[in-house]
Amino acid sequence: MDHTGLLYVIGFAFAATTFVFGTILFSWLITHRRKRPQKGLPYESGVDTIGDTWSRFGLAFYLYALLFVAFDVEIIFVYLWAITVRSLEFQGIVLIGIFLVILMFGELYAWKKGDLRWQ
């Protein structure tokens, strides 16, 4: 087994991390810092914050995430099929068609329920 590619990914991740935090550290060393109470306030167009920011938010975001998970897992499967189209011929196309139609039913259901409409 050839693991060079994996080593590249890991090594590059280390190098990039060093670059990011090294630069931030360097910037921290050369900048001046003067603490003022106003600097720590959240910037909300000059108006004082009302209530807690970390509270409940709209359900719409969550529904998109849920749909995404269903489709994203499916895409991995489609990619595997895509590189073997020639050897699987029509059987493969029919099978992936059935698979995608079932999946599209899920999307159509969400569509009909109005979940794809932004609220």
């Binding site: 910037s27 003067r34 306030l41 938010f57 709209g58 998109y64 995404f68 189209v85 196309i93 599209m104």
Partner: protein
């Protein structure tokens, strides 16, 4: 000492250093293009003080950011607040590993390069979401959630639009894909619908106008970046422009023949000369697409957020699936040769 191992380590060090160093001038060049091109389109002068015709303006901006005070809001979640720019930058930088600059000039030529690319670039959603959450600011939170919803939605048509190209070429490796395009013509003529879907989704994925819902200056101040300052903000900016460069590069590699010249590749150019020739064409085409993205920003207004989400799920996704099936059937019926 094992020379082959030493050579391998040397290549790794060289590739990593070059790629990391490349992100800096790339961001500077694109910011400069953005300032200058949009200024000219607005009949303004744009930056014209620093350097000849102001070409060093963005570089100076970059160093200014480095020397700026880096404040953290009192109520912010300090650890995740610092990690968010790192995540966003990593997502952009890591995907540079598979960009095919020229024959032989690919840092890591994975056989699943396309899957790796989408997997890694998709991680920037996490960074934006974390940034929005950690800032303890309502604009940031809204911006983060919007960006998550938008990028997650457009990732589906983005990845599905490629499948047509993958079916045609029968490979997930960028170099082999470009090799296929050398023999059969650029995928632009084979996959016009795929190209259209990919282009629209890629603009949405890197948060460019007309899909810059994440920042939406007039609505959300600066989205998830509102509370950031100094170098932490700088890395968000870096990542954004590097991502634009990468998306244009991948667009070129997938549909516009990557390092191929518009006319037949001169066969006598092998080795180092061929690599330089390829790099020239790759960068030329990539920066043409970057310029088009800047041009779009000067021209188009922002899309409304509800229309934006509707388009991804109701138009682009079904279109991408139809495109995929038509391509697959055509490949089997006409017996198109793969790699």
């Amino acid at each position: 000492m094992d020379w082959e191992l030493l050579l391998g380590i040397g290549r790794f060090v060289l590739a990593t250093t070059l790629l990391l160093l490349l992100t800096v001038p790339t961001a500077f060049i694109i910011i400069q293009m953005e300032m200058k091109i949009i200024a000219q389109m607005n009949l303004r002068f744009g930056p014209n003080r620093i350097g000849p015709r102001g070409i060093f303006q963005s570089t100076i901006h970059g160093f200014k950011v480095l020397a700026k005070e880096d404040t953290v809001p009192d109520q912010a979640d300090r650890s995740t607040f610092t990690l968010a720019p790192w995540m966003v930058y990593m997502a952009a930088a890591m995907s540079m590993l598979v960009i095919p600059f020229a024959p032989g000039a690919v840092a890591a030529d994975f056989n699943i390069g396309i899957v790796y690319f989408f997997a890694v670039l998709g991680l920037s959603v996490v960074g934006l979401l974390v940034a929005g959450w950690a800032s303890y600011n309502k604009y940031s939170l809204l911006g983060g959630l919007r960006s998550a919803a938008q990028m997650v939605s457009y990732e589906i048509p983005l990845t599905l639009s490629i499948v047509g190209a993958v079916v045609l070429a029968g490979t997930l490796n960028f170099s082999e894909l470009i090799g296929w395009q050398l023999e059969n013509g650029w995928l632009l003529i084979w996959q016009p619908i795929g190209l259209g879907i990919f282009y629209i989704s890629s603009l949405a994925e890197v948060n460019r106008t007309p899909f810059d819902m994440v920042e939406a200056d007039s609505e959300l101040v600066a989205g998830p970046f509102t509370e950031y300052s100094g170098m932490r903000f700088g890395f968000f900016f870096f990542a954004e422009y590097v991502a634009l460069f990468i998306m244009s590069g991948i667009l070129v590699a997938l549909f516009f023949g990557g390092w191929l010249a518009p006319w037949p590749f001169p066969a006598q150019l092998t080795g180092f000369a061929g690599t330089l020739y390829g790099i020239f064409w790759f960068f030329l085409k990539t920066y043409i697409f970057v310029a088009i993205a800047v041009w779009l920003r000067a021209t188009l207004p922002r899309v409304r957020v509800d229309q934006l989400m509707g388009m991804a799920w109701k138009v682009l996704l079904p279109l991408a699936l139809v495109n995929l099936f038509v391509t697959a059937i055509a490949v089997v019926v006409f017996d198109v040769k793969g790699v």
